[in-house]
Symmetry: C2
Subunit: 275 residues, 2 copies
Amino acid sequence: MPKMKIGVFDSGLGGLFVMRALAQKLPRYDYVYLGDTARVPYGNRSPQVVHQFLEEAVDFLFKRGCGLVIVACNTASAEALRKIQQDYLPKHYPSRRVLGVIIPTVEEALAGKSRGAANAPSIRRLGVLATQGTVRSGTYAREAQKLAPHIKVFQSAAPLLVPLIENGGTKWAEPIVREYLAPLRRAKAQKIILGCTHYPALKDMIRKLSGAPVVSQDELIQRKLADYLARHPEIDSRLGKTGKRELLVTDITPGYERLARKWFGKNARLKKVAL
Amino acid sequence: MPKMKIGVFDSGLGGLFVMRALAQKLPRYDYVYLGDTARVPYGNRSPQVVHQFLEEAVDFLFKRGCGLVIVACNTASAEALRKIQQDYLPKHYPSRRVLGVIIPTVEEALAGKSRGAANAPSIRRLGVLATQGTVRSGTYAREAQKLAPHIKVFQSAAPLLVPLIENGGTKWAEPIVREYLAPLRRAKAQKIILGCTHYPALKDMIRKLSGAPVVSQDELIQRKLADYLARHPEIDSRLGKTGKRELLVTDITPGYERLARKWFGKNARLKKVAL
C-alpha cells in the first residue's frame, strides 16, 4: 500500500505559516498544501458555502493521496469541520482523518505557558480575534467552555485583516487593529487567540497593541500534530516520510506567487489545480 | 415567444448601484441581478479564473431567460468579456447580447460634459482607478486609445477599496484613497474614471481628494443602455416590460442582506442560487 501524505488546507495562502512550521518541526513527512485562492476569503461567507468548499477541498486532498488533512483555515474549522468529521468521513473515507485548529489552539491558550501542567495559572477571561464567520459560529467559545466551564470568552470580528494582509495593506493596519482589539482590552482578556491563519503576518503589531499575551497558531500546531501522531501510531505508520512538499492552489497570480515566496521561502512554487 | 429579461451581473453586490440606476431610468423593463457573492472579489484573481466565472454567470442568466446581459463588473468586463462575445456567444447563444461597462465609460469620459458635442474640450490625460485585474489587463487604456489615439492613460490599482466597502471599513479609507489617487494627481489626469462597480460607495470622498472630475458608472450606464436599446429595436422588442426585479446571489449572509438594503432599498430581497 502506498504511503500517504499530510494535507494542509487553507482558504488562501495564510496557511503557509502553519505549513512552514510543520515542515520545520516535522520535516520527514510528505506534505500537500492546498490553498483555495480562486475563492478566498472565506471569512465573510455563509456556513453553507464554507461547508461546500471544505468538502470539495477535503475530497480533492484524499484523492491526491492524503491520509490526514489539517484544516488550517479557522473559518472552515469553525463552521464546517464537525459536519465533515461526523457525516462525510465515516461515509466516504472511514480510515482517514481531518483535524482542525480550533481545539488545539484553545487547549494551548488554557494550558498556560507550562503547557498542561496541573498548576498552571488558570485563565478566566479569554479573547479571540477572528473572521466574521468564525466569530458568528461561536465555536471558540463553545470549545473553551467544554474545557473550562467557567471561562468567559470575548470575541472580536476582524473582517479587514485578511484583505489588508493579502493586498499589501499592512502599513494601514494599526488603527484598524487597535479598534478590533478595543473590546478585548476593555473586557480585560488575559490571553488573546489569533483565530485566523493570516494573522501571524501581523503578530508583532497585535502583540504590541493587545495588552495581553497572544496565542498564535504558527507556534503551536506543529507541536500538537507531533503529539497527535505519537498518540496514533496506526495513522503515523501509514504516512510517507520522504520529505516531499507540494504547494497547490486554485488560482495563480503574480501577487500570490510573491506572497508564497515571502511566507514559504524563495523556492516556493505554486501549481494550479481545479477542485 | 416569451419576453426576455435584462441581466445585470457583478462579482458581488457593488453592481446594485448600476442596477438601481437602470431600474430608475428604465423602470418598465424586467431585470435579473446576479451577484457571485460566494466568490467575490474578482479583482485580484487571474484572467483565466475570471473568464471561467463570467462564462458560468452568463450561461446561468441566459438559461434564466435573459436576452441581454450587462456585465457591471469591471474586472470581468476588462479581462473576459471580449472572449465571451467572440467565442462563446456565437457558438451557444447567437441571438443574445452581452455588454460591458468599459467602452461606454471611456466614451463618456472622452465626450466631456456636453456628451459628444463636437466642440467638447478634448481630454489628453485620463486617469483610471480600478482593481488589480482591471489595471493589469490594460483594457481601459486600449479602449481609450482606440477612440483618441493620442490620449495618455494613467492607471492606479486600488486593491483594498472593495474589501473596505464590503466590510464596513470606509471610515478608514481616506489615507488609502489618498495614496491610490496620488499617481493620478501627479500625472495631472484631467478626468478620473472610477473603474469598479463598488467605487460609487466612496464617490464623495474620491471627488474631494481627486483633484479632477470623476466619471462614475452609476451616473452613465442607464443612459448608455437607453441609447443602445433605441439603436437596436430588434433587441428591445424582445424584452419584457412588466417591471419585474429579481436579486440573485450565490451566497447570502446577514452582511450581504444589510448591504443589499442599503444600496438597493429596504425592500431588497436576496435569493440564493447555484451557478
